[in-house]
Amino acid sequence: MDNALFEYLVRLGDDSLILGHRLSEWCGHGPILEEDIAMTNIALDLVGQTTSILKYAGEVEGKGRTEDDLAFLRYEREYRNTLLVEQPNGDFGVTMMRQFLFDAFRKPLFEQLVNSSDAQIAAIAAKSLKETKYHFKHSAEWVIRLGDGTEESHERVQNALNDLWRYTDEMFFTDEVDRDLESRGITFSMEDLKNTWQETVKSVLDQATLEIPTNGWQHDGGRKGLHSEHLGYILAELQYMQRAYPGMEW
């Protein structure tokens, strides 16, 4: 089995799985109907992307695990998502800020991966990129609208940015898995990705009249399976049916 490729796919898939689940929590609770529908639509895209990614991960692993087995039947330490995506929804401003910081990373990532030497990753990236462009446009426009909106909305998204900033560096976490895949042309430079992300984020936050926090301290752990307490609660809900009724289908 190609261990590095499997590990990479699980990282890629868990980010969209957990963020998709987080967004789905807004179903029926959106501030306005249109946003309720928007967030659940984006959740659906993210979970759909996860399906393709984890399905491929299961094939690479070669032990007969399906995308559902991987999504529903692993333990907390086996999840490889970043800490950013498991952070609670908070208010609408927090959710949009979290989404924007993620979309600004995921869009250029897929732009890189369409050129992957791995044909299946390239196909998934080409498909997902079309959707991610819509997500980015939606979240970036909201960050600008809220940041450059009323005093109240400005303060709330600035606070959201201050709280979430410490989880952003982890998206660019690099270890031997990344170095191995990059050497095979399956993935590309994380440094280029980070530069693109920083430029995009700065340009949008400037328009939003928001200030990038200067505190340099950053969390990590998610890529190694060490999560914040939030993931346990997410998994309790996400896995409930399969744990209570193993193998159930509908």
């Binding site: 249109e34 946003e35 529908i37 928007a38 639509n41 984006i42 659906l44 895209d45 993210l46 979970v47 759909g48 992307q49 399906t51 393709s52 044909a119 299946q120 390239a122 196909a123 998934i124 080409a126 498909k127 997902s128 079309k130 959707e131 462009k133 819509y134 980015f136 446009k137 939606h138 970036a140 426009e141 600008i144 949008v204 328009q207």
Partner: protein, 161 residues
């Protein structure tokens, strides 16, 4: 053996579960029909990654073939090349409009934030005075619009390229 053309004809009798005026051929979801190793293989591609209709479409295709005496068939899902709205047939676009869904018009430059929205004519009264209510609509493939002339709220089958 059944002719390949016959399989394509049958595919034109399978409708999209969410936009039931369109066949899976109109939508461009059926990519290929082939006879391999004594079995028909139908290749399909999803419109959006999370499209919940794909499983249903797969089942409906097999069901349609079975009804017509073709038991040895399978459906394969492929992601590449990725589906775009350019694959919607002209007759499909016409059927969409008649059904009350505005067909895709032009590509929006998604890199430009707050860019001008494309002008989407109202499928009911054809007025160009319409506004986007939400980029995300009742299904993954649609946005939500309203006509400012006749006030009709309508779905827009959004452009995906």
């Amino acid at each position: 053996m059944v002719a390949k053309e016959r399989i394509w004809e049958l595919m034109e009798e399978v409708f999209d579960p969410e936009v039931p005026v369109l066949t899976v051929v109109d939508l461009g979801v059926v990519r290929d029909v082939n006879f391999e190793n004594d079995s028909w293989k139908i290749t399909i591609t999803p419109t959006y990654s999370g499209c919940p209709a794909m499983k249903r479409i797969e089942d409906d295709i097999l069901e349609k073939l079975k009804e017509n005496g073709i038991e040895n068939a399978s459906v394969e899902l492929v992601l590449s090349p990725a589906w775009t709205t350019d694959w919607l047939s002209e007759s499909g676009k016409k059927k969409l409009k008649e059904y009350g869904i505005a067909p895709p018009v032009a590509e929006v430059d998604k890199s430009v934030l707050f860019a001008e929205r494309p002008i989407v004519p109202c499928p009911k009264c054809n007025s160009k005075r319409t506004k986007m209510i939400s980029q995300f609509g009742s299904t993954a493939c649609k946005a939500h619009y309203q006509c400012e002339e006749c006030l009709e709220p309508f779905d827009y089958f959004k452009c995906l390229k």
